[in-house]
Symmetry: C2
Subunit: 512 residues, 2 copies
Amino acid sequence: MLPLHLQPESHIPLYVQLRDQLRALVHTGELRDGDRIPASRELAGQLGVHRTTVANAYAELESEGLIRGHVGRGTFICGKPPRQFSPPPRSNGHGGATRWESLFADDRGDEALARLLPDIPPGAIAFTCVRPPESHYPVEEFRRCANAVLRKEGRRILQLGSTDGYEPLKRGLLEMLEREGLSVRNEQLLITDGCQQALDLICKAFLRPGDSVAVENPAYPGAPAIFIGARVRILPVSVETDARRTGYAGISLDALESVLLQNRVKFIFATPDFQNPTGTALPLAQRRQLLEIAAHYQVPIIEDAIYSRVRLRGTALPTLKALDRTGNVIQIDSFSKISFPGLRVGWAIGAESAIERLRLVKLATDLHTDQLAQATLAEFLRRGVLARHLGKMKKLYLHRLEAMEAALAKHMPDGTTWTRPDGGMSVWVTLPAGLDATELLIHVRERGVYFIPGRTFYSQNPQPNTIRLSFGSLDEKEILRGAQIIGDQLRIELRKRQRGERHNGMSRVALV
Amino acid sequence: MLPLHLQPESHIPLYVQLRDQLRALVHTGELRDGDRIPASRELAGQLGVHRTTVANAYAELESEGLIRGHVGRGTFICGKPPRQFSPPPRSNGHGGATRWESLFADDRGDEALARLLPDIPPGAIAFTCVRPPESHYPVEEFRRCANAVLRKEGRRILQLGSTDGYEPLKRGLLEMLEREGLSVRNEQLLITDGCQQALDLICKAFLRPGDSVAVENPAYPGAPAIFIGARVRILPVSVETDARRTGYAGISLDALESVLLQNRVKFIFATPDFQNPTGTALPLAQRRQLLEIAAHYQVPIIEDAIYSRVRLRGTALPTLKALDRTGNVIQIDSFSKISFPGLRVGWAIGAESAIERLRLVKLATDLHTDQLAQATLAEFLRRGVLARHLGKMKKLYLHRLEAMEAALAKHMPDGTTWTRPDGGMSVWVTLPAGLDATELLIHVRERGVYFIPGRTFYSQNPQPNTIRLSFGSLDEKEILRGAQIIGDQLRIELRKRQRGERHNGMSRVALV
C-alpha cells in the first residue's frame, strides 16, 4: 500500500492532494522508475474516494510525464523514455484467441451513463426517464411527413449528403432560431447526431489528453463520459440548488471563478436552462456574469441548451448564446427532448471558424447525420407540427411537475428538500443528512419504484443523500403513489436511525 | 532551418529517418529544452515530404516524451516537466472575440477525406463517386417500408433505443450473415452509423495517442483521418496492384510482416475485398496467410468489408471474419454501398468482449444509431427488396466495369496500366512514369472530366502518376467519352515530353 493520506475536510481538492503526494513520493525516491502503481479503480477503493479523483490526479501526472499507462499491464512511474521495442519471439504461427480486454485503451467513464438506463420491469413506477413519453407521440403526423419528403425528394435523401446538414432542415432551424430571437448564419450551424455527438465532436476538435474542462457537479453523465474517454481532466464546479440560501440556483459562479483562477481551463461546460439532474435555471443576471467571467479568463463556454425549450412556467430567459457578443459560446441542442429521442438529430451553433472545424471533424467521424431523420424532422418543423406537439407536451409536463411537487410536499418527511424547477423533466431531492439514496433504492425497488441515485451524476464528492426524480414519463397517479412509497421508506429509515440501530448499513454511512 | 537530410531512396522509412535525426539533435544539444520546432505542415513543406511522415515522426517523439505540443503555441523540445501554470493577469473583464483557431486540438487528417468530395459542375463526367447512383434507387419500395414500420412500430422507433441496435434490424442482419455462411451471435454484432463510425469507435475503444496501426497504402482516406485525429501513428503497408508481377493483388504480406517485425503494432487495417482505391481483392491463400501473420504477431485485424457484397464477377471469397477461428478480426460493414449512403447505418462484428466495449463507447458517443433508418432498412431487408435491388445494381455495375475496361484499352496510351477488379466501383490507373495526375486533372477538368488523383489515398510516398477512376455513377457512354478525353490529354502530355519541353510543369516533375 502506498503511504497516502487524503483529508476530505481540506479546502484543497482531493485530486490535488493525491497528485501532490504521489509527485512527492517520486521526488523522495519512494516511487522509482518502473514501479507499478495501482489502477485508478483499485486505488480509489483503497482510499475510499471516487474514481474520478484518482483519474484526475493520474491524468495530471501523466501529462507531466511522471507516470505512464501501458494498456493491459498497468500504470508505471516513468522517469526515463520507454525502452526500445523488440518483436516477440517467433512462435508456432497459431496464436490463441485474442484477449480483447488486454487491448482496451483505458478505463472509460461510460459506467455512470450506462447506469442511467437501468432495466425496469413492466408496470414499475420509473422516476428514471428524462425522455418524452412515447404514448403521446404524434406518430401518424410524423408518418405523413416521412411520406411527403420521400415522395418529393427521396433520391436526394437516400444519396450521400452534406456534412454540415440537410439543407431544408438547416433552413428550418435557422428560421426557428430567428423567430426565437437568435440570428444565426448558415455557416454557424452544424447538424449533429444529437447533443451527445456534438460534445464528442467538440472534444475531438479542441481537447487533447491532459486538457481541463470545468463541468457542473452534479451533471448529466454523458458529458463527463466523453471527457474521461478522451483523457481530459474534469474540474468539478458545484451547482447551487437552494436559491433561498445563495440568492440563485444553477452553476456556482464563485466555485467556477475559483477553478478558473487555479487551473488552465480549456472550456466551461454549463447548462443554464433546467440543468439535468438538478432542474435549476440560472437567472439572467448570473448568465451575464457567467459570460463576463468566461471572457475575463478567456475560456469559451459549451452551453447545453437541450432543455431550453422545455420551459413549463415563468418567463423564458435568453440562452448564453443569445447573450454572447464575442463568439465565446458554442451552444449544443437537440430534437430529443422536444420531439423524439429515437431520431438522432441535434445541432451546434458557434463562431464560423469553430463550426467549420467541427464540420471537418464530423466528416471524419461519420460523414454526415442520417438524412431520412433530418428531412422528416424538417417537414415536421415546416408544417408546424413540432410547435403544436411541444405545446401539448409542455402542458402535460406542467401537470406532472405540479403533481410531483404536491406529492413531495405531502409524502416527504421533514428535513427533505427539493429544487423547484420551472422546466425540464427532473426534480432534485436532498434527503436528510446521513441517509443513502442507493440503500433507499434497494428497498423501494421491491415495491416497484425506481429512481436514479444522485451520486451517479457527480464527477467528484458524490452526495449519497441525493436523488433525481424525473416526472415526464409518469402520470399524476403514478407520481403520487411513487412519492408515497419513497416517503414511507424514508420514514422507516429515519425511525431505524432514531432507535440507534447500528447494524444497519444506512446508519453506518451516517456515522462516517 | 533544422539540419535535416532525408534520403528518399533509402530502405529506412522517411519518418524513421526524421525521428532519428531529430532525436540525435536533442541528444547532441543542438535542440534544447523549450526550443520550438516547426509545425508538421511547415516542416513537411521544407523537406518536400508528405505531412504524415512528419506527423508520424512527431508522434513517436511525443510518445517518448522528447517533444510536446502546446495547442496554439506550437511544438517544443521538452526535457523537463512543463512549468507550473499561473493564471492570466486580471484584465478589464471584457475579452475580445474568441480566436477559435488558437484552440484547435491539432492539425487533423481530414483534408484528404474532404478532397474526395470535390464540387462537380452539373453535366460533368465525374469518375469521382463511389456511391450508388441515386437514379436507380427503389424509392417507392423504400417509402412503403418506411410507412409499414411507422404504422406498425412508430412509437418504438421514435423512442430512445438500445445502443447495440434496433432489434429487428439486428435479427435481419444475423439471418443474412448466416445465409452467407457467417454464424454470429447477437452479442457479437453492434449497429453503428456506418463504417466510418465503426472505425471511430474502435479507435476510441482500443487506441491511445502514440499507438501504431498498420494501414494499406494507398487506402480510403477515412481510415487515416480517424487515426491521425486520435494521434495514432500510421504505418503504411504497400498494396500489390500488379498480380502478374507479384502473384497476387491486395495488401503486401511481405511489407506487412516487415512492419510488424520492426514495430509494436496495435491493429492491422485491411480491405481484402475490392479495396478502395485500388479495387484489388486478396486471394484465398493470401487471406489465410494474413490471418496467420496476424496471429503470429498477436495483432488483431480490422477488416473493412464494405465492398464484399459488390462482387461483380468470379467466385465470392470468404471474408477474413469468416475464416477467423480465434476472434482476432473485427469486421466493419455498412448499407452504404449495397443500398443508400444517405442513411447512416453500418455494423461491426467481433468477439463478444470487443463488441461489448464498443457498445459502451458508442453509448458515450451518440447513445444509439437513428432508429427510423434502422427500422426501415430492416423491413427493406426482410421483404427481400435489398437483395433484388443489389442484384440489379451489380448487373449495372458489371456493364459499367466492362465499359470502363474497354474504354481504357481503347484510349489509354502505351505505358498506362490499370487493375482488373472483379467488384467494387473503382479501377486504379497508373500513368507512364513521370506524368502527374494532378496536372492531368487541371487539363481534363476544362473538358468536363473529373477524377481523384491517386496521391489523395496515400499516407506516405504518394505516387503522383496514379488515378482512381470510379465507374459506378456513370453510364457506358459517359465512361467511353471520359476515357477518351483523359487519353487524348495523356497523349498531349507525352508528346510534350518527347519534344523535350522543359518549361512545362509536368515535365519538371518527371525529372525529379
